[in-house]
């Protein structure tokens, strides 16, 4: 059970306080409700590029990292398709410094051509390091383009193309900041050995002067129902061929989301899972095989992937995956197996929330989802699912016309 208090400042900033007496540190997490899905399709990669610029200094804090490091803290950020998240931890007595710097960059960020030019270079190198200079590095870009035709999940956070980053200009930057980086589009969580009255006073002190603004969100088109299978074959300079099959799945808050998660766990969480034992061990088709959900807030993807062993035909591997998908849909799942994945979820959840910072991030995330209470209901939501429900879902989902197959073949 994660305890928290929540209050909202007049300017719309939502503040969550989580008390953890065991740590000498305090975590401050800020989530801004803007991610890659809010980008214009001709200017992708922008939310992430902007995240870099948030470290370029503000009116009263010339160097953000410098100050956090000087007080013994550590900070970083990440961007995904749904939102952008900034986090830091500092010694407990430095909470006010942390709120001062966070509020300063929310209100008075420096945006210069020079800083933009350097960060464009840095992000282009990040693009190369993560996506181009790695074997299989472009897989996710291909999967997104294949599985989404309308919804902006069809591009990656890093952007569709390096040229989009190269073309970003200072006007875009300023406009983006003005539109999205406002208190009414942010969620702040303070976690540590703190009193909520004190946190409230400090948040009032540093954030309340920042005005609420109207935010223009683009209209995000729902992905149309897929009715035909899609196939794509690419040849790449990689040592082993791979297959990626994706199926459209539910959004984050639907009951189905949890069911899909359990289906993926039955298929591939742990050494005792089905795909590993059937396809890596018994049939010796793949060297690695995986099933997982993309975890997005809007309608996401259910993924099944495999890396082929030498001298195995692509068709054989594909057929074997489909056999397992049919099995999970049509052959009764045993209670023991079902209980196993539920236990595994409970344990994963517990271990992933050991630190105050983890809990702060999760609290902001659930508040962003629109239902902070759900953070404490997750385990129950999994436990309430029954086998018939998840198998019905498997029957509806794992059908050819809803599949997207990417064959990533070794040259």
């Amino acid at each position: 059970m994660i305890h928290y208090e929540k209050f909202i400042l007049d300017n719309g900033l939502r503040v969550i306080v989580h008390k953890d007496e065991s740590t000498p540190l305090v975590a401050v997490n800020i989530l801004y409700g803007v991610g890659a899905k809010h980008e214009n399709e001709d200017k992708t990669g922008f939310a992430h590029l902007f995240e870099h610029l948030m470290f370029g200094g503000s009116k009263n804090v010339p160097d953000f990292d410098d100050i956090i490091e000087k007080i013994g803290g550590e900070n970083n950020a990440f961007t995904n398709n749904d939102y952008t998240n900034y986090y830091l931890t500092v010694p407990n007595n430095q909470l006010e410094t942390a709120l001062w710097v966070e509020s300063d960059r929310m209100a008075y960020l420096n945006m210069s051509q020079e800083s933009l030019d350097v960060q464009k270079n840095v992000v282009i190198e990040e693009y190369k390091q993560r996506y181009l200079n790695q074997p299989y590095g472009d897989v996710w870009m291909l999967i997104r383009e294949q599985a989404y035709t309308k919804h902006p999940y069809r591009w990656s956070t890093i952007g569709k193309d390096i040229s989009h980053i190269e073309d970003a200009n200072l006007d875009d930057v300023k406009h983006f900041y003005k539109n999205y980086y406002n208190p009414n589009n942010a969620i702040l969580c303070v976690a540590g050995n703190v009193e909520s009255s004190n946190v409230k006073a400090l948040c009032e002190k540093w954030f309340s002067e920042i005005p609420k603004k109207d935010i223009v969100f683009p209209i995000i088109e729902k992905e149309p129902l897929q009715v035909k299978p899609r196939r794509l074959e690419v040849k790449r300079d990689v040592p082993q061929s791979a297959i990626y099959i994706s199926f459209p799945m539910s959004s984050r808050l639907e009951k189905e989301y949890y069911a899909f998660d359990l289906l993926s766990d039955i298929l591939s969480n742990g050494r005792s899972s089905r795909l590993y034992n059937a396809l890596v061990k018994d049939k010796e088709i793949f060297t690695e095989v995986n099933a997982f959900i993309s975890g997005d807030i809007d309608d996401g993807l259910f993924m099944v992937t495999g890396k082929y062993r030498e001298n195995v035909s692509i068709e054989e591997g594909e057929k074997a995956i489909w056999e397992e998908l049919r099995k999970i849909a049509y052959e009764k799942i045993q209670e023991q197996e079902f209980e196993k994945v539920k236990n595994k979820f409970e344990s994963t959840m517990t271990f992933s929330q050991l630190k105050a910072l983890d809990r702060a991030m999760n609290l902001c995330y659930f508040e962003y989802l629109g239902n902070i209470d759900q953070i404490n209901k997750e385990v129950d939501l999994y436990h309430e699912l029954d086998i018939d429900f998840i198998q019905e879902l498997a029957k509806k989902t794992f059908v050819e016309e809803k599949s997207n197959t990417l064959l990533y073949l070794s040259k």
């Binding site: 410098d66 007080i71 010694p91 840095v122 300079d237 979820f345």
Partner: protein, 440 residues
């Protein structure tokens, strides 16, 4: 109203007394003499149970890959249960196994919820004491490793790392030797069994346990691991392991270029062997390393990423083994700026021997390092992780307190002397991996 312009940062990390959480574990002995080091934290319902094997690293293996594969395959079958049955029991109780190997030691870590401890301990016993390394499982794993090997040959960062080790330690030295694809085929089940008998037994093992520990857990550990039934006196073990102390030759600095045509970036690594953590200068050298490339505001990051934009990330590291240390700078850089990046790295390294570090910069690093030490000791699981090197190298439990004191008191004169003694430009080896027509 507040005044943003005049907000004053008061950091007391350098003046006040820093009280670190205690690294003194509760120590007990199992009936067979195995030491158990316990770090309690009642707030959580989780436990980490680590079996630490003090000589099961790669340097004493008599066949390439046997150390790492023995470690990995330890849970793949016992005399009583098949691989699947073991995995199923572990998964059913929501437990996780983490296996690690370094050059000198190895660990098998179990993470689990306290409520399942009774059910899980017998399974852990089978894994640790009764591994039989089935041929079939081994072949499956080797297939995977061989493919991974081929993928790695296409990665600039991977190649720069392993080839760099070869350069600074020597290609036939246990610290520098690199396996090739064929070595996987030369490895047999018997090699793993021999390695397992020699290095995974009760004489070689220490236990570190952290989290929500009760007396019951400690007696369960004694019940399953405290008997004299896994000393493995090696009567049947025909394999000879050469356990003599490792000698480090002095190797001349060199430079190397590996051509990888399809590479979009270049990976660089520049560095040398150096003193180990036993040396009095090691802690100070750590401060110097941090100034150079150990944090976001470091000289390397400020210059090569934030000013020049040649890279997404650049850093330096100081790493210690028992009797030797290693220092290196590493980055993936723009291919056509490879030489510029290397020049800037040397310039930054050199500057520490030429000019005194300004007090502001030094204080910033001191604060950062004290803060990160505090962070690294936040929670009993973290403390138990930090405890492992103390056990490994025989340091006192107040090691981190001494570390904090060194950080607090070190001055610019000491830094310049350390730079002159340990980081002279001429002592560095350097490797670059990328498309040679672009990076040259």
């Amino acid at each position: 109203m507040n005044n943003r312009e005049t907000f004053e940062i008061k950091s007391d990390l350098l003046n006040g007394d820093i009280v670190l959480p205690s690294l003194s574990p509760r120590i007990s002995k199992l009936d067979n003499g195995i030491d158990v080091y316990a770090f309690e934290n009642k707030d959580m319902e989780v436990i980490k149970l680590e079996f630490f094997f003090r000589n099961a690293g790669t340097i004493y293996q008599n066949k390439i890959y046997s150390s790492i594969i023995t470690n990995n395959q330890i849970s793949e079958g016992s005399s009583k249960h098949k691989s699947f049955e073991i995995a199923n029991a572990i998964d059913f109780h929501g437990a996780f196994i983490e296996k690690t190997v370094d050059k000198e030691t190895s660990s098998i870590n179990f993470y689990f919820l306290k409520k399942y401890q009774d059910n899980l301990l017998p399974w852990f016993e089978e894994i640790i004491k009764d591994a039989i390394f089935p041929e079939y499982e081994l072949n499956i794993y080797i297939q995977k490793l061989k493919q991974q090997y081929l993928v790695n040959q296409m990665k600039t960062d991977y190649l720069s790392r392993i080839k760099f080790n070869e350069m600074i330690f020597g290609e036939n030295h246990p610290f520098g030797v690199i396996g090739i694809l064929d070595d996987y085929d030369k490895l047999s089940r018997e090699d793993l069994i021999a390695f397992y008998h020699k290095f995974y037994n009760s004489n070689e093992c220490s236990i570190i346990v952290a989290g929500d520990i009760n007396g019951e857990l400690l007696s369960l550990i004694n019940k399953y691991f405290g008997k004299n039934d896994w000393q493995r006196d090696n009567k049947d073990n025909q394999t000879n392991f050469d356990l003599k102390p490792i000698i480090f030759d002095s190797i001349k600095p060199s430079s190397k270029l590996i051509n990888l045509e399809q590479a979009v970036q270049a990976s660089i690594r520049i560095g040398k062997t150096t003193i180990s953590s036993k040396h009095d200068d090691f802690m100070g050298l750590n401060v110097l390393n941090c100034l150079l490339g150990g944090y976001f505001g470091s000289r390397l990051m400020s210059n090569i990423r934030e000013d020049k934009g040649y890279t997404y990330g650049i850093g330096s590291a100081l790493y210690s083994y028992k009797d030797i240390g290693m220092f290196y700078v590493t980055a993936d850089v723009k291919a056509d700026k490879c030489q510029n990046a290397i020049d800037e790295v040397y310039k930054e390294i050199d500057s520490f021997s030429k000019e005194l570090v300004q007090i502001d910069e030094l204080n910033a690093v001191k604060n950062f390092m004290i803060g990160s030490t505090l962070r690294s000791l936040d929670g009993s699981l973290e403390i138990s992780d930090r405890f492992r090197p103390l056990l490994k190298y025989g340091f006192d439990y107040d090691y981190y307190q001494k570390y904090i004191n060194t950080i607090k008191t070190i001055d610019s004169e000491t830094i310049i002397n350390l730079a002159k003694n340990y980081l002279s430009k001429d002592s560095m080896s350097e490797i670059r991996v990328g498309n040679e027509t672009i990076i040259q």
